[in-house]
């Protein structure tokens, strides 16, 4: 399984992760080795096996429809990088 530089760039783009150009080949190599390693799973035939998403076979517990949270803006925004008038500020969103 060989991961190329362009694969790393594509994944980094999807994950919004800036990776310095010199590091890209290093990641490509490491990712290739990891994916080769996990490919060991292919030795076993899993046709018809139901995927296990949760270790215990349980179902959702539902919550009653009640308002239990009050305004905590001050506390929750205390560490925000940039706010104004209670809004979180970001570079302009262009549609």
């Amino acid at each position: 399984m060989s991961i190329k530089a362009e694969d790393v760039r594509a994944m980094a783009r999807l994950a919004r992760l800036e990776i310095a150009e010199p590091d890209i080949p290093v990641y490509a190599d490491q990712l290739s080795r990891i994916l080769d390693f996990v490919a060991q799973m292919n030795v076993i035939d899993t046709a018809g096996v139901e995927p296990l998403a949760h270790p215990l076979d349980l179902v959702a517990r539902l919550r009653p429809d009640q308002v239990t949270e009050s305004d905590q803006r001050e506390n929750l925004q205390a560490g925000a990088p940039s706010t104004a008038d209670g809004l979180y500020l970001v570079p302009q969103v262009i549609e």
Partner: protein, 487 residues
Amino acid sequence: MSTDFPRSAAALAAGLASGDYSSVELTRHYLERIARLDGGLNSFVTVCEDSALAQAAEADAARAAGNAGPLTGIPYANKDIFCTRGVRTSCASRMLDKFIAPYDAHVVERLHAAGLVMLGKTNMDEFAMGSSNESSFYGAVRNPWDRERVPGGSSGGSAAAVAAGLAPLATGTDTGGSIRQPAALCGISGLKPTYGRVSRYGMVAFASSLDQGGPMALDARDLALMLNVMAGFDSRDSTSIDRADEDYTRMLDSPLTGLRIGLPREYFGAELDTRIGDLIHRAVAVLKARGAVTREISLPNAALAIPAYYVIAPAECSANLSRYDGVRFGHRCNDPSDLDDLYSRSRGEAFGAEVKRRILVGTYALSSGYYDAYYRKAQQVRRLIKNDFVSAFDEVDVIIGPTTPGVAFHAGQNIEDPVTMYLSDVYTTAANLAGLPAMSLPAGLVDELPVGMHFIGNYFDEARLLGLGHAYQQDTDWHRQTPPGVY
């Protein structure tokens, strides 16, 4: 005033109850040890001197008013992955270096309500990803047994702190072995409970279907006492099990007669250091002397646990870490030119290499065209692994093996090669995939370095595991060994 304090939490609790010393004195004792010894270990990220002493004073007052519980006034170290209101919660990452949690994790609320005293936040692998505690933004943690070696990870700070006597108890989290492996490499006891026992609310998520918080301590009795406080239903966590509360100490003195121990042949293979294998067999003999019976079993898909884990965990973490974007909290890059720049540069600057690797692997495993081959396949393998255990527990009550294939390795040895690093979890990850409770106890020394013995129990069978561990620790004293130079 650092005279003869006992070391286990149970003994300390007895001392507090007898009035031999106060919680404030006890807390000062540990704070002083931290100040003196942690420079060489780097096990703490944040020490909370003022609030610890205030909590200790509260505990002493509660005791005076007749309101003391089993662990009231006992100091503990808290892995820096648990949100603590008003205190930095960093996950050992630059991303959260300045993050002051605005709320307490459920586990923290419980520990506080039970009167424990938080000494500080311990170092860890960044965002819980690692097996050596070398990926921390705050620098590596050293193994108290040999400062050139790793303590294990990701709960390396907690393990080192307890091993070096900087705290009698610590919290850890375990996703693929992150409580048990460092416990083994540092010669202490650690337990990963059944999935869903301990609430994950406020425990920063790495891999949601695998993560569990649990206790780290010097012996099984202390693990049970701490689990009594940490475990319990929380309505804010949809994966929290709604079961009647239990006393996990209830089987500590239960006899072992007839207890059926399974020894998987797959866990005693070529990758295991034979000296470790010998120690495990000797430990099993101790249990047999008490009436347990053993048989060889097979977990046919054991070898697939790590490959499956290294698809599922990165996949879940790649999504769990998307919220770290520099918008509402955490690190933001300077002068972002546009949104993409804000995201990419903030995340690029603030995440370390291992975290980035896992996000990339996870993104790949979930991406269009690869989902079936990787993620779905891994979930299928996961079911096979679980089925292996379900079959095994038809025949045995407990499964025993080594916790790690080798003793603590040298710092820097595996950091460049992720796959080799991942192999240190070869015995531990299956329990996370299946959601089973599992425990590591000290079982000996090889080259003067600790070796851990691994116990896997059936679902919700923590009390039996702890009883088995306690019995073992009555007949052995590996758990009382201390690293050189800390006392």
